[in-house]
């Protein structure tokens, strides 16, 4: 069924039919300011934003388009202007005395477009002298917009299936299909590597409950086989819960309200299985949204561990036997913004790759200063903007990959992998293969004979 187009992305038809959107936007904004923790930052930003434009120099979208609307500071000003006018005493007084800015439907449409041109990669924060976090402004603006129905349909449909659908996951994979897939993976491991590895289901008291991006069961067989192989050789105590096996949390991209509900469901499954830790698969946003679990569920919630952290610790402890032969192709690593920007996971994957690759090269810049793949902030799920993602948003990343001369690009993130593959297809980088980190590791694990 075709959806009427108002934005560059599809929204639900019901959203377009809504009346009195400016008033409803302001009501939602007020509620979010009252119950959330955004007022402090918005107030400081609204007072002191200097409009120097330094942020533009670090924005890959602005680099590609040179358009005023793609300057991070310009984008943030769209929301800060509303904040100043309606939520500060000076703004209200000024409007009463002199009139001026009024929130309109057209202005909402401008925001709706602007905040989904940004991938919320937060690279620009590091270059703002005043410490403004434009990614934060995008984050809260998207939530307010979502409360008046302005949210890409691709995101809301996934969340609906996850929170209210029969399968309870974003890919709509029922448990029998999950078990069939896993059985296939076990057979593959046996046939290719001559090793019997089982994916444990619903093991009560296991140390880790495994939450990959559920789409990995459809798209990333090698990554999942690598995850299982690591758990096998290290004797890790882990399980997949049939009550919830999806680490994806698109609430991070458009609504704290949804993010909170999805995160609580993850914890509920871990508690059902009496697990002590949540093991997140190769997925940047799943990891970052899981890092919010102490926020929603308190300090006693199960600890969150990314699979790369686990693998690195095991490798460093000598518990992952490796073959003498290394990966011979030239390999480079793409840092997913959600785990690298704040510097939480940057060195572990590099140490693993250096241990298993003979020709590892870095992209420049990297780690906390990396460029986004161009599909961050949920934009990778919006297929109707693929051309924009792979030409404008991802141009810088395509250039980076080309400059390394790498044959293999490793990215431990389901969303980055999808974007990077499309990026390579659309930018004459067809010879480059995009893989997960555990895909490569699997090739060199020595299972013995």
């Amino acid at each position: 069924m075709a959806t009427p187009k108002r934005y560059s992305y599809h929204v639900e038809e019901s959203a377009l039919a809504q009346a009195d959107r400016p008033a409803r936007f302001l009501k939602a904004f007020a509620a979010i300011l009252e119950h959330g923790n955004y007022d402090l930052a918005l107030d400081a930003y609204a007072r002191m934003s200097a409009k120097c434009g330094r942020c533009a120099a670090s924005c890959q979208l602005y680099e590609a388009t040179g358009a005023e609307e793609d300057i991070p500071c310009h984008r943030s000003e769209l929301l800060l202007r509303v904040y100043r006018r309606y939520f500060t005493q000076a703004g209200v007084l000024k409007a009463r005395l002199f009139g001026g800015f009024t929130l309109t439907d057209e202005y909402l449409d401008e925001m709706a477009e602007a905040y989904y041109r940004c991938t919320a990669c937060r690279r620009c924060k590091a270059t703002c002298p005043l410490g403004l976090d434009h990614g934060l402004v995008t984050h809260v603006a998207r939530w307010i917009l979502a409360e008046v129905g302005i949210v890409p349909r691709a995101l809301v449909v996934s969340v609906r299936e996850q929170l209210a659908g029969e399968t309870g996951n974003t890919s709509g994979i029922p448990v029998p299909a999950l078990k069939d897939t896993v059985e296939f993976l076990e057979e593959e491991l046996h046939d290719i590597y001559d090793v019997d590895i089982k994916y444990p289901f619903d093991v009560e008291g296991a140390e880790y409950v495994f939450f990959p991006a559920v789409s990995d069961y459809l798209m990333e067989a090698d990554t999942l086989m690598g995850n299982a192989a690591v758990m096998h050789v290290t004797g890790g105590s882990w399980t997949i819960g049939t009550g919830n096996y999806d680490g994806i949390n698109y609430g991070l991209f458009y609504s704290d309200r949804m993010m909170e509900r999805i995160a609580r469901n993850v914890v509920a499954e871990a508690k059902r299985l009496n697990a002590r830790k949540i093991l997140v698969g190769e997925c940047g946003h799943a990891t970052r949204s899981a890092w919010f679990i102490p926020t929603f569920c308190g300090p006693d919630a199960p600890r969150v561990v990314n699979c790369m952290e686990y693998t690195y610790d095991m490798l460093a402890a000598g518990k992952i036997p490796l073959k003498a032969e290394k990966i011979l192709e030239r390999v480079t690593y793409h840092d997913p913004c959600n785990i690298a920007r704040v510097g939480r996971i940057t060195e572990q994957p590099r140490e693993i790759l250096k241990a298993i690759c003979s020709d590892y090269v870095e992209m420049t810049p990297n780690r906390t200063e990396n460029y986004c793949c161009g599909g961050g902030g949920g934009t990778v799920s919006i297929d109707e903007i693929r051309a924009f993602r792979t030409s404008k948003l991802g141009k810088r990343k395509a250039d980076q990959i080309r400059e390394t001369g790498a044959q293999l690009v490793v990215s431990p993130c389901a969303n980055c992998k999808k974007q990077l593959r499309e990026l390579c297809q659309d930018n004459e980088l067809g010879e480059v293969e995009v893989v997960g980190l555990h895909d490569l590791l699997l090739r060199v694990i020595d299972f013995g004979s």
Binding site: K27, A28, A31, I32, E34, H35, G36, N37, D39, L40, A41, D43, A44, R47, M48, A50, K51, C52, G53, R54, A56, A57, S58, Y62, G66, E68, I71, C73, H74, E77, K125, T127, P129, L130, G131, L132, D133, L136, E147, V156, V159, R160, L163, A164, S255, D256, R257, M258, M259, E260, R261, F292, P294, T295, F296, C297, G298, P299, V342, G343
Partner: protein, 233 residues
Amino acid sequence: MDVWLDWARGPLFWTALAFMVLGLLRQAGLTVWSAVRTYRRAGDRQIPTRQVWRATLRWLVPTDRLRNRWPYSVTTVVLHAGVLLVPLFLAGHIALWQAAIGLAWPALPNALSTALTLAVLAGVVSVVIQRAVSPIARPLSRFQDYALPLLIGVTFASGFFVMHPAWNLFAFEPVMLTHVLSADLLFFLVPLSKLSHLILLPFTQLVSELAWHFPPDAGAKVAVALGKENEPV
């Protein structure tokens, strides 16, 4: 003229200074109060303090951040250094403070003050021109983004002529009056404009970090406030 000068240097100066100091203290106080409230509401109170401190210090002394748009960066750093140092450490200003309240502190050598003043003036001209011609900064710019540096320029230029009468082509009193009045106006504008970053800058990295520390049930409360608690996804 003398009456005007006495008024500008006397009641108006003290009023403007008090307005600036109290205004900035109010902003600092509100920010600290709001930061404590935000922290207490947060579900996760683990703040990466080392990271926040490092980012704060890095931008208070941004010597390693000058490569990004370097002409703009270098001139703004010099401009900021001069604007902070000259008013506080000019020997003539300190003498006035000593006469007024009996307090004095070490002064910058006059030659250095002069050099910094000239650097500020060059910085003002450079910043305004770069803003006006930059395809990035120009469309972002508001009235205050031009007016404030120009006002700083007037204050420093008139101050330079007061200190160096040989270069002054005008009568002393009008130049002095211009200097004092423009400084008074700046004091009034500091807490009301983006110049409030004078007091808020040390807080902003913490403020940005705290915003990501949500209250545990913010989403549920927003749903109730909007009557959406039973609404399908």
